[in-house]
Symmetry: C2
Subunit: 330 residues, 2 copies
């Protein structure tokens, strides 16, 4: 059969509905005929089910529209995995999705959507604000596809500790030392790091010290600590302190994520440092207007997966918004 382009769609007649839609979920019926999106037409051309579109065979058609090749690769991959799918504009009200994937065994006539897929190349920008709306299908430079699920998680935990007020503390380079801390500060609150194995002195990070000074636990001027933090890392310190405070407020204990190249690793349920579980999240703190490269997302997701944590982004604008990204195999 042959198709021809009409208003941006590929019109195929006669009896195309029965052959392509009824049994295999391609296109939108128009009586006995069918309207196909270009990506659907490309796939039918590739399979040899359609001979030409506007007189062009597969190879020529694929190069006829910029970006069609990348969308075709993802469409084909999902079809190969056993899904029926459709262009998003036909099915979804979504600002960023390109394809709506139906649950396995279902089709466009069932009214259910399993994945909302945003197709992009590895060099395309991903604004932080777009995370959470769709699954990213990133086509890399060698045409392999990586699926990244994005979400907007709730962050909460049950960690809490009561501490005395006005504990003396001494700034020391870019940290703060509490020479004689209350035992609960480290043992139940998981604040700081002991100076030595048999030493009670506790080293606090500037974030921990600024937070505890703000809570009145330390006898130290919060603004002074914040100034030390800004000298060390500029306005990034303010963003990180906002996230640190948000996490502690939600009952979650943040500790440095340095060994993982992140801002924090977090513990949602600290009763005692002697019975510390596995940390659950890796948190990267970013300004709300941050734009990711897909490669950085792939790096973070791979890293977090390797250490059995979830990569979570704290997006700091007026408040703190949360987004997470995980690898998906559809």
């Amino acid at each position: 059969m042959h198709g021809r382009t009409r208003d941006g769609l590929v019109h195929v007649e006669p009896n195309a509905r029965e052959r392509y839609y009824d049994s295999r979920g391609y296109g939108v019926p128009d009586g006995d005929a069918l309207d196909l999106a270009p990506v659907e037409a490309a796939h039918l051309l590739y399979r040899g089910d359609l001979e030409t579109v506007d007189g062009r065979e597969f190879r020529e058609y694929l190069t006829s529209e910029p970006g069609l090749a990348v969308r075709f690769l993802v469409y084909k991959d999902l079809r190969d995995r056993g899904f029926y799918l459709a262009p998003a504009e036909r099915t979804l009200d979504s600002p960023s999705a390109d394809l709506a994937v139906f649950p396995r065994g279902k089709g466009p006539w069932d009214g259910e959507v399993a994945y909302r897929i945003h197709v992009l190349g590895e060099r395309d920008p991903v604004p932080a604000t777009a995370l959470g709306d769709a699954t990213l299908a990133v086509v890399d430079e060698e045409s392999e596809i990586t699926y990244l699920e994005t979400d907007r998680p709730e962050i909460d935990g049950v960690s809490a500790v009561d501490l005395p007020r006005d504990v003396p503390a001494t700034p020391l380079d870019d940290r703060v030392v509490v020479w004689e801390p209350p035992a609960a500060m480290y043992e139940r609150g998981f604040y700081g790091q002991p100076l030595g194995r048999d030493d009670e002195a506790l080293q606090l990070s500037l974030l921990e010290a600024a937070y505890l000074a703000g809570e009145g636990v330390l006898d130290l001027d919060r603004e002074r600590v914040v100034e030390m933090g800004r000298r060390a890392e500029g306005e990034r310190f303010d963003r990180r302190l906002a996230v640190y405070t948000d996490l502690r407020g939600a009952g979650v204990v943040p500790k440095t994520g340095f060994k993982f190249g992140a801002d924090f690793r977090t513990y949602a349920d600290v009763e005692s440092v002697d019975e510390l579980g596995h940390s659950e999240l890796l948190v990267r703190v970013l300004p709300a207007e941050h734009v990711f490269s897909p490669r950085d997302l792939a790096l973070d997701v791979r890293l977090a997966h390797g250490v059995r944590k979830t990569m979570t982004f704290a997006l700091v604008g007026e408040g703190v918004a949360w987004a997470s990204v995980t690898r998906l195999t559809p």
Copy 2:
């Protein structure tokens, strides 16, 4: 005993040599007396072996000199691990090392050095040119220490393939398709990615296509592909092509490192894609003048370790220089 500062060193007498140097490797003997570096004096104060320096006890002395606290933490950690060590200037001719660590069981009198340690905070810059000279001891904001071994590796392999000349190829968005490739191109050279499982068409990345065009294998103008690459990713493409070419020239097959957030993963010995081993290196391409943050190094090292590869940096200036970083537990 008490010390006093003299010309930047801490002078202790009498009989300090026997007590601190002969049995435990601190300081430089001056007859029966001893000259200590501040970090050694701080450690003896911490242990209670020395009572005061210039009338100051440990806590006060530690805050007396900027940066002393961070050096003390690393010095103490290495002592706790059973090493004797000395300030680098006393022992080594090294532009970047701060501490010379002697092999376990040996001391300053044996003339052997196990590690050359550069001490830094997690916010200190690490110029790419400094990698390879010393082991980095990074003290993070919570005062934990991560040791990163740096090296200048040789890169070589035994992968090679003979290919015909002037194979037709078609640019397609930001990749190149070879519709009818010689079988050896993918199967022995590991160039490209087949379009489908039962499809012979091969998709090449722009890097692969530019390299093969330059070798005369593709009937395609190399400059045209390079222009496509520059449009897609700017001068980064030129750097990556220089590294791709260097690797292929060394008998190493580079494939995309996208899923790992790197530029390449590499195979030193490809005989056939059906018997492909594990890729050995993750390669990140950077300009020679790049300056790392320790956190980015920690991220890369953790990632590479998690996927059992070695993190390698290709530093592109006049030519390509290689540096690698791995985690070390002294």
